[in-house]
């Protein structure tokens, strides 16, 4: 059955990033599968209001106060009235939040539960347990997660992390990886795309003296391992000749990079591109042979998949979910240490020079591995499960006979427990003080909900028109069935 889904997150276009493209691709694929998807995000400086993207993906840029790095100021309840209005006028059934750093998403999940909607949460990032900030975030996450229907993580490591942080039942956490649009990340010379670069003299076989270009594309933050890069880069350049670097991206650590380049003069061998837009990434990648990814923590690492899809040999640090992402013959793993990184890069260069790796095949393999349609299918299965279209047993793989013992889980999974008291029970378990606080929040939220029902009654909100869908798909399927028959 088609659902009306609202993707809620602070991170969306025009701001570039992994979460943004994830939301966009997933939504468009879901629309192709016949669902109705809208995206709710906060307003950016030059776009406020309601926009339509391709094939009728409707984006609400809600005017809100942006606090830091495009994440809004966390006001627990102020988002409720407008969210309710949107949800009613779009007849939303499922609220799907993205990104644990986005207050918007958490508020939307809370309010959605209050309004009796199904809620799904997708976690894109990893968090430690050490520092104060992450402790706070974990509490907040626990608050939201204790009353969510299902959680999606992008990698198994991310799943473990989320289960620990929000103390969830592992069975209500699904792992659905990101994907790439392989067509947008095709290598420079590829048989299946004859259109571009007619004059292809396949330079796959690198001689011992050909210049090998190493590409680094990442935002230059601490947790992206820029320090590591800054430390390792001169040594890599010193160790093996005929190696060039192309570094794209910007961030606070860019200064350190520049200072390093100034200190030991490397401007002729290192090219700083500054920030590149997402559609230009491929053009930068295909200029190189090796992709170096010195990140310190990474939930999924879409960029290395893109690099591999571009036919680059990937050198990456063995952190977070990165080891799960690519098979071993595409990657060289390194410990997050300067020496090891240098050594791994050296190994990769050596293998390339010896032509041990057949980077030509990477593209097809990656295309087989990751596709957004697959992601959309799996997400759809999650929707089926939480909305009861798929039975308990199928979804959670448990015996339906003793449903009594699992009513709790089901309650946790929220198939039929929108009762305030159940929600309060769940919130109460969040901690001695935090539990009561969360209960208070939930109660206030519910009261606001009632007030809103009085203040802005549902029949005063006119239902939005759906984007006129092309009915070709249905006809085609009908024809197919008739043919089969």
């Amino acid at each position: 059955m088609p659902y009306n889904i609202a993707m809620v997150s602070d991170f969306f276009f025009p701001q570039p990033g992994g979460v943004e493209s994830h939301i966009y691709q997933l939504s468009s694929k879901l629309i192709d599968r016949g669902h109705k998807v809208i995206i709710i995000t906060h307003a950016y400086e030059d776009r406020t209001g309601i926009r339509y993207l391709t094939n009728g993906l409707k984006v609400y840029h809600v005017p809100f106060f942006v606090m830091y790095r495009a994440s809004t100021f966390p006001t627990v309840f102020s988002f409720f009235p407008i969210f309710r209005n949107i949800a009613i006028r779009e007849e939303i059934q499922i609220v799907h939040g993205h990104g644990s750093m986005s207050p918007f998403c958490h508020e939307a999940i809370l309010h959605g539960r209050t309004m009796g909607l199904r809620t799904v949460f997708t976690d894109h990032s990893l968090f430690g347990f050490a520092d104060a900030g992450s402790i706070l975030t974990n509490k907040l996450l626990k608050f939201t997660m204790s009353d969510v229907d299902h959680v999606i993580c992008v990698s198994h490591t991310c799943k473990e992390n989320t289960v620990l942080r929000a103390s969830l039942d592992p069975l209500m956490v699904s792992v659905i990886p990101n994907a790439v649009v392989a067509e947008n990340f095709r290598p420079l010379y590829h048989p299946s795309y004859p259109s571009d670069f007619s004059t292809t003299s396949l330079p796959q076989h690198l001689g011992p003296h050909d210049t090998i270009t190493i590409v680094v594309i990442s935002r230059l933050f601490y947790n992206k391992g820029t320090d590591l890069l800054v430390a390792a880069l001169p040594r890599i350049l010193a160790n093996n000749a005929n190696v060039r670097f192309i570094i794209a991206g910007s961030g606070p650590k860019a200064i350190d990079l520049e200072q390093m380049l100034e200190r030991n003069v490397l401007h002729d061998r290192v090219e700083l591109l500054g920030p590149v837009r997402h559609e230009e990434v491929r053009d930068v990648m295909v200029r190189g042979h090796i992709y170096l990814h010195p990140s310190l923590t990474e939930a999924f690492g879409t960029v290395i998949v893109e690099a591999a899809s571009c036919g680059l040999y990937v050198v990456c640090t063995q952190v977070g979910g990165i080891p799960e992402v690519l098979p071993g013959h595409m990657t060289v793993f390194a410990k997050p240490e300067e020496d090891d990184l240098v050594a791994a890069t050296g190994r990769a260069i050596a293998e390339l020079r010896a032509n041990k790796v057949r980077t030509g095949d990477f593209h097809d393999q990656v295309k087989k591995m990751y596709s957004w349609t697959d992601v959309a299918k799996r997400t759809e299965r999650v929707y089926d499960g939480i909305s009861g279209a798929l039975s308990e047993a199928d979804f959670y793989g448990y015996e339906a006979a003793d449903a009594a013992s699992w009513s709790a889980t089901r309650g946790r999974a929220g198939v039929q427990s929108f009762a305030l008291i159940d929600r309060l029970k769940r919130y109460y378990g969040c901690g001695i003080w935090a539990g009561k606080l969360f209960c208070l929040c939930a109660v206030i939220d519910y009261i606001i909900f009632l007030l809103l029902e009085l203040w802005a009654p549902r029949d005063a909100i006119d239902i939005a028109r759906n984007w006129p869908k092309k009915v070709k798909q249905e006809n085609l399927t009908a024809d197919d069935s008739s043919f089969r028959r």
Partner: protein, 230 residues
């Protein structure tokens, strides 16, 4: 009771001329007329009393010390003196004295802004009425009644050649998302919003949109609702 939810009235004497009127004023029945009349009388009374209080305040203040009192009735009716005389009568009458005491009690810093605010409130119209007049071959004319009785309705005529398109758009307004009708005018930076003050519901907006497109350009080009971001 005086106002209703904004509703649509359509006048179409000939297929080439349509006037859409969205207003909050209900259809005038007899009791409603009476009610309106009574409110108007009430307003007038209050307004006069406020003015009287102000006048007596002025008399109390030392500004009026120089002006001589006109307590003798001048022979000619049409003269300034007669006006002064009437004012004097008013001032000496019972409500006048009451106003004087009231004015004497309240300090001017409180009285003057208060009375100004009161007058401003009294001058507000009860209903808002906004119309859209479509004349094929000539153009579109939007008009919206002003908030107060002092100023008249503001109209805006857009010739057809200037009308680039007519859209139904969505936007955030306060805590809600509203549909509204905009006219895109060639060579202008900002679009013209139709029915700007009381944004009617979607049904009304869509019917008006259909009608306008049908009347302005020939019928049959009324496609699906084109709600576009601006």
């Amino acid at each position: 009771m005086l106002t209703t939810a904004p509703h649509l009235r359509t006048r179409r004497p000939s297929p080439t001329t349509v006037e859409y009127t969205v207003s909050t004023s209900p259809t005038l029945t007899l009791p409603l007329r009476l009610l309106l009349i009574t409110t108007i009388i009430f307003r007038v009374l209050i307004g006069w009393s406020v003015l009287l209080i102000l006048y007596s305040k002025y008399l109390l203040s030392n500004l009026a010390a120089a002006t001589s009192t006109h307590n003798v009735q001048p022979e000619t009716i049409v003269s300034i003196d007669y006006l002064y005389y009437i004012l004097h009568l008013l001032h000496t009458s019972k409500p006048g004295q009451f106003a004087t005491t009231l004015a004497a009690l309240t300090p001017p810093t409180l009285l003057i802004p208060l009375s100004l605010v009161l007058l401003h409130i009294l001058l507000q119209r009860p209903h808002t009425t906004e119309t859209l007049l479509v004349l094929r071959g000539l153009g579109i004319q939007t008009s919206s009644s002003s908030a107060s009785y002092l100023s008249s309705a503001t109209t805006r005529f857009i010739p057809t050649e200037k009308v680039q398109d007519i859209l139904v758009n969505e936007a955030f307004r306060g805590f809600e998302v509203r549909y509204y009708l905009v006219v895109v005018v060639e060579g202008e930076d900002d679009v013209v919003v139709v029915f700007p003050r009381l944004l009617p519901r979607r049904k009304v907006v869509e019917s008006v949109w259909r009608g306008v497109r049908g009347c302005l350009w020939e019928e049959g080009r009324v496609g699906g609702l084109s709600a576009k971001g601006g």
